[in-house]
């Protein structure tokens, strides 16, 4: 095997490994576009991974496994929606509790199936296209769910930015009052999109337990912590599907890089490179919020008119603005 083919195989593996994260990040992007933060991601990925695997193991059907995962993800998200939309509790509080609860549920209920080998998603090379040099290996010699992961990015982008329903979605997360005036049922739609986003994120779990890291290994499954990373990438992705997917691929790439470079850097464990999304996220948040900080506002006021206007414009351009109503409950009056 040539170095080149090893590299290519590695990169293809990166896309493969990133696929579940892409699903989760796209799902969370949709949920947050509607104005709801689903902090339970860490737990629901684990729970849907375990649940999908168990169902698949019991029924022998991969399809049922994936559907179970989506259903679990959706259900958990609906609890967050219910607590925050109808009961007006803090989205952060509920999401955080669910993250821990669902994780422990997954370990507990998954105990019986631990270590068992179950159905595994087979690879599915597309006949002609996969023989194209480079591109073929990367994009067309994957499995079904990875193809879906490519598709979901495009579909999400089309939906959010090119359809009326997507426009409405953006509206309720941006300025629910204005949406309400135009007849949108803000609360109902928030429920809907939280469920949809949750379902997509719920597909990420089975993608691990039935494909990328087949099987359920409980506490050493290596899945704990991924949910938090998904949340970080969502922010980095600026609530835009393509940028979010880029973040997911970048993260998987860094993970792979860590593994590859391990032999040449014996003293440093791979985990160090894996925390890279977080400084990136913090940096993004810093730039996003720099325009709003009070001391910046006051320094701005002291500048002469022209400089002030220019500085204000620069700050505005740097912003990767979250949906303005993110996290805030909608009060009709």
């Amino acid at each position: 095997m040539t170095n080149e083919s090893i590299l290519l195989a590695g990169l293809a593996g990166v896309l493969f490994a990133a696929a579940p994260i892409v699903f989760a990040v796209i799902g969370e992007t949709i949920t947050e576009r509607a104005g709801v933060i689903n902090l339970s991601m860490n737990g629901s990925i684990l729970l849907s991974a375990m649940g999908g695997f168990s169902v698949s193991l019991a029924t022998g059907s991969l399809l049922l496994g994936f559907l179970a995962g989506a259903a679990i993800g959706s259900l958990v998200a609906l609890v967050v929606a219910f607590a925050s939309i109808t009961l007006r509790q803090s989205q952060v509080a509920v999401g955080f509790v669910l993250a821990l609860l669902c994780r422990d549920l997954s370990y507990f209920l998954g105990n019986p199936v631990m270590g068992q080998s179950g159905p595994r998603l087979p690879g599915l090379s597309i006949p002609l296209l996969s023989s194209i040099p480079i591109v073929g290996t990367l994009f067309f010699a994957q499995d079904l769910m990875t193809y879906f992961s490519f598709a979901i990015v495009v579909l999400a982008w089309l939906f959010i930015f090119k359809t009326k329903a997507g426009l409405e979605l953006r509206g309720i997360g941006e300025r629910p009052a204005a949406s309400y005036v135009r007849g949108s049922r803000v609360e109902g739609l928030r429920y809907l999109y939280t469920a949809v986003g949750g379902a997509l994120a719920g597909l990420a779990g089975p993608m691990y337990s039935l494909s990328v890291k087949a099987g359920w290994k409980g506490t050493i499954s290596g899945l704990d912590g991924l949910g938090w990373i998904v949340l970080a990438i969502t922010i980095f992705g600026g609530w835009k599907p393509f940028r979010a997917a880029l973040g997911a691929w970048l993260f998987a790439f860094l993970q792979w890089l860590g593994l590859v470079l391990q032999p040449s850097l014996p003293g440093i464990p791979s985990q160090v490179l894996q925390v890279a999304p977080f400084p990136l996220m913090i940096l993004t948040l810093l730039l996003v919020n720099l325009g709003d900080a009070e001391w910046v506002e006051r320094s701005l006021a002291r500048l002469p008119d022209k400089a002030r206007k220019r500085a204000a414009r620069v700050l505005r351009a740097m912003r990767a603005t979250p949906p303005a109503a993110l996290g805030a409950p909608f009060e009709k009056d």
């Binding site: 009326k164 509206g171 005036v181």
Partner: protein
């Protein structure tokens, strides 16, 4: 003027989309099918002229709405014919917004009726309102700043029951049609709006234009505008007025809510004045400003003999200040406030008084000019300010806490949101305000302070009761009781809001006592009588213009009311540099 197709389309839309085709006689059926086809697949431009083909008149009958103990609308009856511009005048809290919120579907009235074209109807929601042809342009247009104009234009159109019927939500065809309609409507009214621009790059006037176009496109037959001329430039205002006049001449029913006399007098065919929830008068052209002011603010009441303090040394000095707000800009502000003096800031809400007051307290940063506060280096014995050690320190750009240290206090209008901490007791508020320090809370001393203040300000509430359990009036007293002593400058927004006459008089007696001790007070009030009764000097704010300080004794309710509504500013020119 009405084509067969349009007529058929109208009949259909009037009868409901599920009207049976077979109700119509056979020969006309083909024509009708064609018009149905045309309506469903034509652009919505036809609906944008619905007001022309079938104008709608609106009537309010004995509309009443109560919020708790406040009667916001008290049996208001008003008829507005189609094709006219009806002005709605009144000061803050008169009930204009409530009435318009009822008509536009945000809230529902308690009793009375709303009739559209003579038929009583019940409006369930804002979306329901627009479906019936009632469109409202809010003071801050309810649009989506991060989106493009065209997206704002089409968002929600399908739900309004008009717009593009054949459009199944896919971009190309629907958006193309919308784009074309947008362009045609723009051309018709002479607006120059780029459908691909972002809304947050537009001026307020342009956002209004967009919203008007959108409401027209959705088939509005009644257009409500809430204080539209706040914060727009003169050419934009002229364009807006020209547009409204044109719409009205073609049959649109326009409701124009404002507090600005000159706008109402120029634009409206008829004017109705609301005061304290009641309709106190309605006139048609020609208008008399004098009469309108009297209707809005009431007559002059003989004032009590006022004891004037001899103003002492200068406490606050504002020179050439410029303050920028979200919708206005004030320039050339000058003020010299002296110890023992009371200065009232008058004007409609949003005219800049709050910004100015905030700037005097360091909460708002001016973009130009200087704010200097007198700082007594050696505070003399209580109540007497030593002449030595005094200096005017330039505090421009400093924080509110720096102003506080210099002896300035600011009491906000939004009690529970900005001035008081829910969950803390009265005593705890005093602990904070007095700046008591140390390690462990001296509960005994705190209680003593609290009890003495409760008595002094007649607050109905225990020292340990949480602040949110107090009634609104008592919260207001508590807020005032938090004033420290001594203070060189006291800045109060609406000192007696929510208090009855007796409490108002009592509070003012306490404030006057402070003045006698040397404090200077600057306060905002929307009650003209309060302004004229207690101020030594008055500054009026109107749409970014600021009057020079006027002597209160020489000011009549009529003149003050006029200034607040925008009349009589010419006579001020040359008297000071405060006109922007």
């Amino acid at each position: 003027m009405m084509t067969g197709a349009a007529e058929g389309a109208n009949r259909l839309s009037a009868a409901g989309d599920s009207a049976s085709l077979f109700a119509f006689p056979l020969p006309g059926r083909r024509k009708l099918l064609y018009s149905v086809y045309k309506f469903r697949h034509a652009t919505a431009l036809e609906s944008a002229v619905a007001f022309r083909e079938s104008p709608m008149r609106v009537e309010f009958r004995a509309i009443t709405k109560t919020f708790g103990s406040l009667k916001a609308n008290d049996a208001i009856s008003l008829e507005v014919p189609s094709g006219s511009i009806q002005g709605l005048l009144g000061e803050n809290g008169a009930g204009k917004s409530t009435l318009m919120k009822i008509l536009s579907g945000f809230i529902s009235h308690d009793s009375g009726e709303i009739l559209l074209d003579g038929e009583p109807i019940r409006i369930a929601s804002p979306a329901d309102a627009i479906r019936r042809g009632i469109g409202m342009l809010h003071q801050d247009p309810l649009d989506f700043p991060p989106f493009r104009l065209l997206e704002n234009f089409v968002l929600g159109a399908a739900k309004a029951g008009r717009g593009l019927k054949g459009d199944r939500g896919r971009s190309s065809r629907g958006t193309k049609l919308a784009r074309r309609d947008f362009g045609e409507l723009c051309a018709r009214f002479g607006f120059s709006l780029d459908p691909d621009a972002w809304v947050d790059s537009l001026t307020v006037g342009e956002r209004q234009q967009l919203e008007i176009l959108r409401l027209l496109w959705l088939g509005a037959k009644i257009l409500i505008l809430d204080e539209p001329t706040t914060g727009i430039s003169l050419p934009q205002k002229e364009k807006l007025f020209a547009t409204l006049k044109k719409l009205a001449s073609e049959g649109m029913t326009v409701l124009f809510v404002t507090h600005k006399l000159e706008d109402a007098e120029f634009l409206c065919d008829r004017v109705a004045v609301l005061r304290q929830g009641r309709l106190v008068g309605a006139t048609a052209r020609p208008f008399s400003s004098k009469d309108l002011v009297e209707l809005m603010f009431g007559k002059d009441v003989p004032r009590t003999e006022r004891r004037r303090n001899v103003p002492g040394h200068s406490v606050l000095s504002v020179k050439g200040a410029a303050i920028e707000g979200p919708r206005l800009r004030m320039e050339g502000l000058d003020l010299e406030a002296r110890a023992g003096e009371i200065i009232g800031l008058a004007g409609m809400e949003g005219s800049g008084q709050s910004l100015f007051l905030g700037a005097c307290g360091g909460l708002v940063q001016p973009v130009a000019g200087a704010f200097c506060v007198d700082v007594d280096e050696n505070p003399g014995e209580r109540g007497r300010r030593g002449a030595r050690g005094r200096e005017m320190r330039d505090l421009t750009g400093k924080t509110h806490h720096d102003f506080r240290k210099a002896g300035v206090a600011w009491l906000p209008a939004a009690r529970l949101e900005q001035g008081l901490v829910p969950g803390l007791s009265l005593t705890e508020h005093f602990i904070l305000s007095e700046g008591m320090h140390g390690l462990f809370v001296d509960r005994k001393r705190a209680r003593e302070i609290a009890e003495s203040r409760i008595e002094a300000f007649r607050i109905k509430g225990g020292p340990d009761s949480p602040i949110e359990s107090l009634s609104g009036g008592n919260q207001q007293r508590a807020l005032l009781a938090l004033m420290r002593n001594p203070l060189s400058l006291l800045l109060i927004e609406h000192p007696t809001r929510g208090l009855d006459i007796e409490s108002t008089a009592y509070i003012w007696s306490k404030l006057r006592d402070r003045c006698a001790e040397g404090t200077s007070i600057i306060f905002i009030s929307s009650d003209l009588d309060e302004i004229l009764e207690y101020s030594d000097r008055v500054i009026v704010f109107y749409a970014g213009r600021v009057s020079p300080p006027l002597d209160a004794e020489a000011l009549s309710v009529e003149r003050l009311g006029g200034l607040i509504g925008g009349a009589g500013w010419e006579s001020l020119e040359g008297k000071g540099s405060n006109v922007a």
